[in-house]
């Protein structure tokens, strides 16, 4: 690590002010940022910890809406969110990661293999920041890129509770992030299918599958439908074709789990 200053404000307003300094950076649970600092791949002048901000905590469900603080840890989401999202959170990393890592941190980071982004696209989310509300569909902008501005903080996230939903993750053998992950959510007005881990462009909604499942919510409805292998990630752990195949398998499994 390089040296940096450290602040731990107790309100969002204080945090926003602290982040106004040049090269200041927000610190959530540190599960991504701290390893990055240790490898000297980032050089913030100041870290502003969000862990002491009470208004960014908590997970609650009211009137068909799930509201989660940007500072809610994965463990808190696993304990208190609606079942499919709780199950997703319970399978992120290990207990130490879940007790530290936060929803806001994961979304801000937008790792192409992270789990939450798929849920956000599938669950009709709204990402709330200190400055504005961003529709989940507009938030993720490719690998590690989001709609957030410099110094903008994710303060909370709202999701519409679906009739039914299921997330299927196929773990990369080493990191156990998603080699591919598919989140299927069924609403009265249609089905949403979001895919993480697989695409070179990051998390995406698989519209062909959505249309097929909206018409007929059954695994068979996906027969013959596939994602374009050309845009999939190829690496040590799987070819483009393999990832494209996994996406189809996982989508069917998610639907089968709900059927």
């Amino acid at each position: 690590m390089y040296e940096f200053e450290f602040e731990k404000p107790s309100t969002i307003a204080e945090a926003v002010a602290a982040l106004a300094d040049e090269d200041a950076q927000a610190l959530g649970g540190g599960q991504t940022l701290i390893p990055t600092l240790k490898q000297r791949l980032a050089m913030p002048s100041k870290l502003v910890s969000l862990a002491g901000i009470a208004e960014m905590k908590g997970v609650s469900i009211a009137d068909g809406v799930l509201t989660m603080g940007g500072g809610a840890t994965h463990a808190e989401v696993a304990a208190d969110a609606c079942a499919p999202l709780a199950a997703l959170a319970a399978n992120i990393g290990d207990p130490a990661v879940r007790n530290r890592g936060t929803l806001g941190g994961s979304l801000a980071n937008n790792d192409p293999a992270a789990d939450y982004p798929a849920a956000m696209l599938a669950l009709k989310s709204t990402i709330v920041t200190n400055a504005r509300e961003i529709a989940g569909d507009d938030f993720f902008q490719g690998l590690f890129e989001t709609a957030l501005e410099e110094g903008e903080i994710i303060t909370s996230v709202r999701c519409e509770i679906p009739e039914a939903a299921n997330y299927q993750k196929f773990a990369q053998p080493a990191s156990r992030f998603a080699l591919a992950g598919v989140f299927v959510a069924k609403y009265a007005d249609g089905v949403r299918v979001a895919v993480t881990g697989a695409s070179e462009e990051g998390v995406f909604r698989w519209s062909e599958a959505e249309a097929a499942l909206s018409a007929n919510f059954a695994p068979d409805a996906l027969a013959g439908i596939s994602v374009d292998a050309g845009s999939m990630i190829a690496d040590l752990h799987g070819s483009k074709e393999y990832r494209a195949h996994l996406v189809a398998v996982l989508a069917k499994r998610a639907v089968a789990a709900l059927a």
Binding site: P173, A174, L179, L236, Y242
Partner: protein, 787 residues
């Protein structure tokens, strides 16, 4: 009832109390007054000429004590290779200089280019970032076949090529071997890769060098499996220091698996720099550094051919292997693909004609050396895979085919230079069939298929040569060291005992099992005996721990020294009881005179040895301390049969291990619980190699799996509950305890069983897949099924 003391009992590991409660004393726990810290600037390219290194800006940085480059070590020796292999033409292996710091050329990612010593680790790292390198890129040599090709870039300009040696072993008459294949009824051929691995012990390497101006003495604390070997190599070959002025201490060590056998540049650096800087110098490896600076393991590419007659008897075996040495020769590197591999190619079978061909190759990758099993897993994998393939081609039952070809008479002289003293391969296979419930497999397969999964059963045998090694034999084979071991048994006046052993315990549980032996021989409680290990300043000598040798070699030295103690103690007891020493018996810590009711206790005798008021001083020296050196007469030959049962998800290619059974013959066993643990750990690593682990390089010589994000270590949920049995025991015939060693068996014997099981599963699903290279990741299995 199981014993609760002595040989054959399973007391809990006493060292675990300190390890599990944070009271261990690892090298990084040690901080020396006034120590400085070194940060190594490591190459981030695989092959380059160093045109210049500008350290001027770095030298002006805060806290910097001294900066070293290759030029500072030009007068210092290179890291030596401990084994010289003679090639098929009688020529010595090509042996390049292995500098402490790169001298003019970078040859692998991770090689040390400069070293910054500063007051704090952060300052050292800051300054290292300010060093300016002017590098001239050279093409990286990564693929072994390409490295041997005409016109390949050379890793070492001063060598004739990238070939280290071209070696033949066994029957070197090519025509005779070919004739055996020509007359065969069936020949099975298999090409396979033994994947490169990173050892990844839990504790990364650490070194602290100290120098005392007052006494001109050096101390090196290091994470080593064999501190005496490090002292010898570093003093005699690298730094040119007198051994009596150098103390090497390896305190608690958090796992080694071979990777901490070798003498590394960082050890010599810290020792040398301590004097040059006038301060102790400490280095603690990060995990990232470990991936690119700890010696890697395996990395063989092999073509194996097995000839059988019309009755399915094995008639000939021929192998052609390329083995990666990496950029430099690490300590044992050249012995691993040659003598530790070729000598094992007979396996458990009476194949009359065997020819082993090995070419070792320099590449721009991290040096490759021994990793748990070292050569023997590579041999076992080829042999047990080709036998399985042959069984499938011939429609033979894989177990029956193996049984038919078992060696059954002992001693047995193999065509590859070993003499197996004892074993019973039929017994271990019988035991395996029972433990693995072979009979119940069909029902389990049906149950898996009902869930949409493919189920496969795979079996393999293994034999290993452990207890390394008879010094005269390994000397003839090119070892540049003896491989005996030593122990000193020091009995204190009050009867408690400290045993100073040359073996080093870094997870093996010696602190528990070694005292069991001494306590058993004397008939006292284990708690009266401690071992001392890992310190050249306290232990007379020793060759350390690797090759499953500790109890077989060092344990034998300990037995010999204890025998000397008992013989002397009997003389003292005889004097006290006014009897002849020939009539003295020792049982349960009491000396008695045969046929009388006279007795003296162990403690009376030991006290007398140190308070010799009533003592035969004319005939016997006071005190009770004895040393023995033990050089084994032969290797030991643990053997066994393993079975793996897998489920394969045909949709994703994911393999899960449902059952794993092991029937081992380790000869006599000191502590069955510790033996179970050793087998479990070995199986975990073997399964890791088979399914998960892969040190993959790209064409530029960059390690793609250079962190745990991409290098898949086995986790608890990747392995099943093991069924481990070691009730088949044919004691070793030539060491006093009848022990064979158990440390590597699991890692040697498991990869072929796993792969054989996966192939069986895929075949049961109608897939014509005959081989998949390890690791059998979901992507690879899926690709094979759909290829």
């Amino acid at each position: 009832m199981p014993k609760d003391n002595g040989i054959g009992a399973s007391p809990k590991r006493r060292e675990d109390v300190r390890f599990l409660t944070g009271a261990g004393n690892y090298t990084d726990d040690i901080n020396v007054h006034g120590q400085a810290h070194v940060h190594f600037l490591r190459a981030d390219v695989a092959h380059a000429t160093i045109n210049s290194i500008d350290t001027s800006a770095a030298e002006a940085m805060p806290g910097v004590v001294k900066i070293f480059t290759g030029a500072d070590f030009a007068e210092v020796g290179g890291i030596p290779c401990g084994w010289g292999v003679t090639d098929r033409h009688g020529n010595p292996q090509q042996e390049p200089r292995h500098p402490i710091i790169a001298d003019g050329t970078i040859r692998h990612v991770g090689e040390i280019v400069a070293a910054v010593v500063a007051d704090t680790p952060e300052q050292a790292r800051d300054a290292a970032e300010a060093i300016e390198l002017d590098l001239g890129d050279k093409p990286a040599v990564v693929d072994m076949a390409a490295a041997l090709g005409e016109g390949s870039t050379k890793v070492h300009e001063d060598l004739t090529s990238n070939l280290c040696y071209d070696w033949v072993f066994g029957n070197d008459d090519d025509a005779a071997v070919q004739a055996a294949f020509d007359s065969a009824a069936h020949v099975t051929t298999l090409e396979l890769v033994n994947n490169r691995l990173v050892a990844n012990p839990m504790e990364p390497r650490v070194a602290i060098g100290e120098y005392s101006r007052g006494t001109d003495e050096y101390t090196l604390h290091t994470t080593s499996q064999n501190p005496h070997v490090i002292r010898l190599l570093m003093c005699a070959f690298v730094l040119g220091l007198p051994e009596h002025k150098v103390r090497v201490v390896a305190p608690d060590v958090g796992g080694g698996f071979g990777s901490k056998i070798f003498h590394y540049a960082e050890e010599a650096f810290c020792t040398h720099a301590a004097k040059a800087c006038g301060r102790a110098v400490k280095w603690t490896s990060t995990r990232s550094e470990a991936f690119i600076s700890d010696a890697h393991g395996r990395d063989h590419v092999t073509k194996i051919e097995l000839a059988l007659d019309a009755d399915n008897n094995f008639t000939a075996l021929r192998t052609n292997t390329l083995a990666n040495m990496g950029a430099y020769l690490s300590t044992f590197s050249t012995s691993v693909p040659s003598y530790l591999h070729g000598t094992l190619m007979a396996g458990n079978y009476k194949t009359p004609v065997i020819q082993v061909n090995v070419k070792t190759v320099f590449t721009n990758t991290v040096p490759v050396d021994a990793y748990r099993g070292a050569g023997r897993p590579e041999a076992t994998f080829q042999l047990e895979r080709v036998i399985d393939k042959a069984a499938r081609e011939l429609g033979a039952d894989p177990i029956a085919l193996r049984r038919q070809n078992f060696i059954s008479e002992f001693p047995y002289e193999t065509p590859v230079a070993l003499t197996y003293d004892t074993g019973d391969y039929v017994a271990t296979m019988d035991k395996l069939e029972a433990v693995a419930d072979v009979a119940g497999f069909a029902a389990r397969r049906a149950a898996s298929e009902a869930k949409g999964r493919l189920r496969g059963f795979g079996v393999n045998c293994y034999i290993e040569a452990c207890g390394i090694a008879p010094s005269n034999i390994v000397g003839m084979l090119g070892a540049r060291a003896g491989l005996y071991d030593a122990a000193t048994v020091r009995v204190n006046a009050t009867g408690t005992i400290s045993v100073f052993v040359g073996a080093h315990s870094h997870g093996q549980g010696h602190e528990t099992s070694f005292p069991q032996v001494v306590a058993d021989m004397i008939g006292i409680d284990e708690s009266m005996v401690d071992i001392v290990h890992g310190d050249t300043g306290r232990v007379p000598f020793g060759m350390g721990t690797y090759g499953s040798r500790s109890i077989a070699v060092c344990g034998s030295a300990m037995v010999r020294a204890t025998e000397k103690i008992i013989a002397k103690a009997k003389k003292i007891a005889a004097h006290l009881m006014e009897a002849s020493d020939a009539d003295i018996e020792l049982k349960d810590g009491q000396f008695t005179v045969a046929g009388t009711d006279k007795s003296v206790a162990w403690g009376d005798v030991t006290l007398t040895a140190y308070v010799p008021h009533n003592y035969p001083l004319e005939e016997l020296e006071p005190g009770l301390e004895e040393t023995a050196f033990y050089d084994p007469a032969n290797f030991t030959y643990p053997s066994g049969a393993y079975a793996c049962e897998v489920e394969v998800d045909p949709d994703t290619g994911k393999v899960s291990i449902e059952r794993f059974s092991a029937a081992d013959d380790f000869g006599n066993i000191i502590n069955p619980m510790i033996v179970d643990g050793q087998v479990h750990g070995g199986l975990g690593q073997g399964i890791g190699q088979a399914l998960l682990e892969n040190a993959a390089y790209d064409a530029d010589g960059q390690l793609l799996s250079a962190s745990f994000m991409d290098y898949a270590m086995p986790r608890a949920d990747d392995v099943p509950f093991y069924q481990v049995d070691h009730s088949c025991q044919t004691p070793c015939t030539h060491n006093p305890l009848g022990v064979k060693g158990c440390g590597e068996a699991g890692a040697i014997g498991s990869p072929p069983a796993v792969v054989n099981a996966v192939i069986d599963a895929l075949q049961s699903g109608g897939k014509d897949v005959t081989h998949i290279d390890m690791p059998l990741s979901p992507a690879r299995v899926w690709a094979a099924m759909n290829g």
